[in-house]
C-alpha cells in the first residue's frame, strides 16, 4: 500500500495543494474569508446549481439507456458483438473537445439535423445530456456488463423454480449481485458529468457553465486564481462527498459472488421480446454513437467542393498547420501511443497494488484510501496539469523537461479505473482458494500471483484497456505539460480547433478520426487477446 500512497501524495496531493495555496495565500497568510465571498456570488451559485442537476440528469439518462445495452452485450450472442463492444467504447476515449465538436456538427447550426429537418438542439441542455450519454455509454456497458456476463444464470433459474417471476428473479437475485457494479458505474458517470469540461464548453454556450468550465475561465481567461482556487476546493469537497456516499452504499453490498466463464452465459436471443430488445439496443447504438462518429468522419473528408483526403495529406506536413506545430501533426500518433503505453503500465502497477491492498485489509483507514483513489477523477485536470508545472520543477524532482511527466499525469487518471475494475472481481475471489495455495506452500505474494491474478486476468485486461484509453484521450492536464515538439493527439486536435480556417477545422476532424481509429484498433486487439485467453481457463 505504501507505493500507491506515495505516488498519490507526490503526483496528486502535492501539486493540487500547491495550486490551492497559491490562490488562497497572501503573503503566507491563508485567506479563508475568500471562500465565503466567492460562494455568495449569484453567478457562482448558478454554476453550482447547473453543475449538480445536469450531472444527476445525465447519470439517470445514461443508466436508463445503457443498462439494457449492458444486458444485451453480456448475455446475448450475436454477430459483430465484439466489434460493437469496441465501437461503443470509442466515444469514451475521444477528447471531450472532439465529442463536443461531433455533436455540434450533428445538432448545431448548419449541422446534420439542421440540414435535414431544421432541428437544432445546441442551445438546449439536451445537447449536453445527449453528449454525456454518448460519452459514458461505455462506462455502464463495460462496468456492469463485465460482471453481468460472469454471473451464473443458474442463480436466477433457482429463483424462478422457487416461484419468482422473471422480473422478480432479476430484481431479487441478479440486481443485488450487480448493485456494486451499477453503483460504481453510476458514480463514474456522475463524476465525469459533474466535472464535464469540453462538452459543456462547446455545447453549453454562454448560458450553461459547469464548475470545471468556470475554473478554466477563471484561471486561463480572467487570471482570477483566488476564485479558481475556491472553486477547485468546492469541486474537491463535492466529489469527496459523493465518494463517501458511494463507499457507504457499496460496502453494504459486497459479497463473494459465484463467477463463471462469460463464454458460457451468452446465447442467441430467443423470442420476439429478446429480439426486440436486441434491435432496440442496436438502434440506440446506431443513433447515439455511430451517427455522431459518422458525421465526424464525414466532415473530415468534406473538403467543401467534394470529398477527398486533402486534410489527411495536410497532416503529414509541418507547414500546412500555418505555424501551429513544430512537427507534423501525424507524429502525434506515435507520441500518444508511447505515452499511453507507459501510462498504462504505471496505472496497472499502482492500481493493481492498491486493489490488492484493499482486498486484503479492512478498516476505516483502508476504506478512506479506497475513496481517495477516486479523487483524481473528480479534481480539475486543469488544476493538476498546472500544479505539475509549478511543483515538479525543482530538484530532487525536476521532471518538467522529462517525457515521463505526461504519462505520470495520464496514469493518475487511469489508476481509479484500474482499481474500480479490479476491486469487485478481486473481492469476489474465494478467499479459501488463496488459503489452499498457502497451505500448499505459496507465500502470500505467490498465492496472490498464482490464484488471484489468473482469475482476474480478464478484469486486468479490461482495466488495462480503460487505462490505455483514458491516457490516449486525456487532455486537461496533458495540454499544460506536453512539450511543444511532442504533442499528443488530443492536444494537436485542440490546437487545430483553436485556429480559424476551414483547413484547420478539417485537419482537426481528420486527426480526431485518426485518434478514433487508433482507439478502436487498440480496443479491438484487447478484445481479441481476451477471447483467445479465455479458452485457457
Amino acid at each position: 500500500m505504501a507505493v500507491p500512497v506515495a505516488f498519490f501524495a507526490l503526483f496528486f496531493a502535492y501539486p493540487v495543494a500547491a495550486i490551492v495555496g497559491r490562490g488562497l495565500k497572501v503573503d503566507g497568510v491563508w485567506q479563508f474569508g475568500r471562500i465565503g465571498e466567492v460562494l455568495a456570488r449569484p453567478d457562482i451559485r448558478e454554476v453550482l446549481w447547473f453543475t449538480s442537476w445536469q450531472a444527476l440528469a445525465s447519470t439517470a439518462l445514461t443508466l436508463l439507456i445503457a443498462l439494457p445495452g449492458a444486458y444485451v452485450f453480456a448475455r446475448f450472442d450475436f454477430p459483430g458483438r465484439q466489434l460493437l463492444r469496441a465501437v461503443v467504447t470509442v466515444p469514451f476515449v475521444l477528447p471531450t473537445v472532439v465529442v463536443g465538436t461531433a455533436f455540434l456538427a450533428l445538432l448545431g447550426r448548419g449541422g446534420f439535423l439542421d440540414e435535414l429537418w431544421g432541428v437544432r438542439l445546441d442551445t438546449t441542455v439536451w445537447a449536453i445530456l445527449l453528449a454525456h450519454v454518448f460519452f459514458n455509454y461505455a462506462v455502464v456497458v463495460r462496468t456492469v456488463g463485465g460482471l453481468w456476463a460472469q454471473l451464473d444464470p443458474r442463480q436466477e433459474e433457482a429463483a424462478r423454480v422457487l416461484g419468482a417471476g422473471r422480473f422478480a428473479a432479476w430484481r431479487r437475485v441478479t440486481l443485488p449481485a450487480l448493485a456494486p457494479a451499477v453503483a460504481a458505474a453510476a458514480l463514474m458517470v456522475f463524476l465525469f458529468t459533474f466535472t464535464s469540461f469540453g462538452v459543456v464548453q462547446i455545447l453549453g454556450g454562454p448560458g450553461y457553465s459547469t464548475l470545471e468550465v468556470e475554473i478554466y475561465r477563471q484561471t486561463a481567461q480572467l487570471l482570477a486564481l483566488p476564485t479558481a482556487a475556491v472553486l477547485t476546493l468546492v469541486q474537491f469537497a463535492a466529489v469527496g462527498a459523493i465518494l463517501a456516499v458511494h463507499a457507504w452504499t457499496v460496502r453494504r453490498r459486497e459479497t463473494a459472488l459465484r463467477l463463471v466463464d462469460p463464454a458460457r452465459t451468452a446465447r442467441r436471443p430467443r423470442g420476439a421480446g429478446q429480439w426486440a430488445l436486441l434491435c432496440g439496443v442496436l438502434l440506440t447504438v446506431l443513433l447515439l454513437i455511430l451517427l455522431p462518429l459518422g458525421v465526424l468522419v464525414e466532415r473530415s473528408f468534406d473538403t467543401g467542393g467534394g470529398h477527398g483526403f486533402d486534410f489527411y495529406r495536410a497532416l503529414a506536413s509541418v507547414d500546412a498547420g500555418g505555424g501551429t506545430f513544430l512537427v507534423a501533426p501525424l507524429e502525434a500518433i506515435g507520441n500518444s501511443l508511447q505515452y499511453a503505453l507507459v501510462a498504462t503500465v504505471i496505472a496497472l502497477v499502482i492500481g493493481g497494488l492498491a486493489a490488492a491492498a484493499l482486498t486484503r485489509r479492512a478498516g476505516r483507514l483502508v476504506r478512506g484510501f479506497d475513496a481517495l483513489l477516486m479523487l483524481p477523477l473528480g479534481v480539475s485536470a486543469v488544476t493538476v496539469g498546472f500544479g505539475f508545472l509549478i511543483t515538479l520543477d525543482k530538484p530532487p524532482l525536476d521532471l518538467r523537461t522529462s517525457w515521463i511527466l505526461v504519462p505520470l499525469a495520464q496514469a493518475l487518471v487511469g489508476v481509479p479505473f484500474v482499481v474500480r475494475t479490479m476491486l469487485p472481481v478481486l473481492r469476489a475471489v474465494d478467499g479459501r482458494l488463496r488459503e489452499a495455495a498457502s497451505v500448499l506452500g505459496a507465500s502470500p505474494l505467490r498465492a496472490w500471483r498464482e490464484v488471484d491474478l489468473p482469475l482476474v486476468r480478464r478484469a486486468l485486461l479490461v482495466a488495462a484497456g480503460f487505462a490505455f484509453a483514458v491516457s490516449l484521450g486525456e487532455f486537461g492536464a496533458t495540454v499544460f505539460i506536453a512539450r511543444p515538439d511532442r504533442p499528443t493527439l488530443p492536444v494537436a486536435v485542440a490546437r487545430l480547433l483553436g485556429r480559424a480556417g476551414e483547413l484547420n477545422y478539417g485537419q482537426a476532424m481528420a486527426l480526431s478520426t485518426i485518434l478514433m481509429v487508433v482507439c478502436a484498433v487498440s480496443l479491438l486487439l484487447l478484445e481479441r487477446i481476451r477471447t483467445d485467453r479465455s479458452g485457457e481457463f
Binding site: 488459503e435 495455495a437 498457502s438 497451505v439 506452500g441 505459496a442 507465500s443 505467490r446 481457463f537
Partner: protein
C-alpha cells in the same frame, strides 16, 4: 508429531476452541468427530496457521509454530469443498505444491502421474477441473494435498459431499492408502461412521471442548457422557440411580454390568439390549413405527411411563405396529454414564 497445548480461539464471547489439548502420533490417523459448530474446522485452521490461536500453543515435531506462516508449515489440508483451482487443469492442480517447493518440471510430472495413479485417476492430467464429478474432484484434492509429502495431512469433512456408496468405498480406500504411505492424518468429520472406519483414534468434540478421546471401539462401547451417546445415535438415555447391579429408572428396574459406578447417573440402553416379549412381561409398551434396516428391524416403543424406547429385533420377531408388548433389558447392553453436571 502434532501437539496442541490448551489451544483457544474465541469468536466474540463464544469459544470455538476452549483450551484443547491434543496429541497426534507419527503415522496415526486421528479423527475429530463432532456436530457442526463444535469447533472442528477451527481446530484444523489453527493447526494450519490459517487462524491464529487466542491462547495456547501448536507444536509440530516439538517446535512451536507461533509466527511460522502457513506456507512454511509443510502441512497438507484438504478443504471441505476441495477448493481446486478452477483455472488450472488436474495436473497443474496436483503439481501446485511441488511447484511452490521448486521441484523440477520433470520430477513434478513424474510425481503427478504417480499420485493420479494412486488415487485411481491415471492419465487425467489434462482434464479440466470443472468437468470432474464430485468423487473425482475429491481424489484430485487428495492427490494435490499428498503431492508435496506433507508431514501431516489434514482432512476437513473429506467425504462430506459424496453420495453414500462412494463414501463407503472411499473410506476403505483412504484407510488402506494412509496405512501404506504411513501418512500422519488429522481428519474432522461429523459422520461417526466415517470417523470410526477411518481412524486409529477418535476425539469427540462439543462446544470447543473435547468430550471424549479413545479408539473407535472404546468410544463406541463406552461413551463417556450422554452427549457422546446421543451423538453416536443412541437415544435410549435416561436418568438413573444405581445400587449394586440394578439401576432405578423411570422405565423401572434395569440391570447393569457389575462394577458400574454407583449413585445418580445417566443410563444408556443400546437398542439391542431391549428385549421384546409378551405384554405381561416387563415394561408395558405400545409399538410405534418400525424401520427396516436390512439385517434387523428398528422398533420405536412408547412405554406407559418415561421417554420413547428404541429396540432392535430380527425381522420375523418384529411386532405389529400399534400392538401392546412388554420390554425387558439386557445387562450386557447397558452402560452407566457419568451423571449430568
Amino acid at each position: 508429531m502434532l501437539t496442541l497445548e490448551s489451544a483457544t480461539v474465541r469468536f466474540g464471547a463464544r469459544a470455538a476452541l476452549d483450551a484443547v489439548d491434543l496429541e497426534v502420533a507419527e503415522h496415526e490417523t486421528l479423527c475429530v468427530l463432532g456436530p457442526s459448530g463444535s469447533g472442528k474446522s477451527t481446530l484444523l485452521r489453527v493447526v494450519a496457521g490459517l487462524h491464529p490461536p487466542d491462547g495456547g500453543r501448536v507444536l509440530l515435531d516439538g517446535a512451536d509454530q507461533a509466527g511460522v506462516p502457513v506456507h512454511r508449515r509443510g502441512l497438507g489440508l484438504m478443504f471441505q469443498d476441495h477448493q481446486l483451482f478452477p483455472h488450472r487443469d488436474v495436473g497443474a492442480n496436483v503439481a501446485f505444491g511441488l511447484r511452490m517447493r521448486g521441484v523440477s518440471r520433470r520430477d513434478q510430472e513424474h510425481r503427478v502421474g504417480e499420485l493420479l495413479d494412486l488415487v485411481g485417476l491415471p492419465g487425467a492430467e489434462r482434464r479440466a477441473v470443472a468437468a470432474l464429478s464430485g468423487g473425482e474432484q475429491q481424489r484430485v484434492a487428495l492427490a494435490r494435498a499428498l503431492a508435496p509429502r506433507p508431514k501431516l495431512l489434514m482432512l476437513d469433512e473429506p467425504l462430506g459431499q459424496l453420495d453414500r456408496g462412494l463414501r463407503e468405498r472411499l473410506v476403505v480406500e483412504l484407510r488402506t492408502l494412509f496405512g501404506r504411505l504411513g501418512t500422519t492424518v488429522l481428519a474432522v468429520t461429523h459422520d461417526q461412521g466415517e470417523a470410526f472406519a477411518l481412524a486409529d483414534r477418535v476425539v469427540v468434540m462439543r462446544d470447543g471442548q473435547i468430550a471424549q478421546a479413545g479408539t473407535p471401539l472404546e468410544v463406541w462401547q463406552r461413551p463417556a457422557s450422554a452427549f457422546v451417546a446421543r451423538f453416536l445415535g443412541f437415544d435410549n438415555v435416561v436418568g438413573a440411580t444405581v445400587a449394586g447391579t440394578v439401576a432405578d429408572t423411570v422405565w423401572g428396574k434395569v440391570p447393569v454390568p457389575g462394577g458400574s459406578p454407583q449413585g445418580a447417573c445417566d443410563l444408556l440402553v443400546r437398542p439391542a439390549g431391549v428385549r421384546i416379549g409378551a405384554p405381561e412381561e416387563g415394561l408395558r409398551c405400545v409399538v410405534g413405527t418400525r424401520t427396516f434396516r436390512g439385517n434387523h428391524v428398528a422398533v420405536r416403543l412408547t412405554p406407559e411411563r418415561g421417554p420413547v424406547l428404541e429396540a432392535e429385533c430380527a425381522l420375523r420377531d418384529a411386532p405389529e405396529e400399534g400392538s401392546a408388548v412388554g420390554a425387558g433389558f439386557d445387562a450386557a447392553e447397558t452402560v452407566v454414564l457419568p451423571a449430568r453436571p
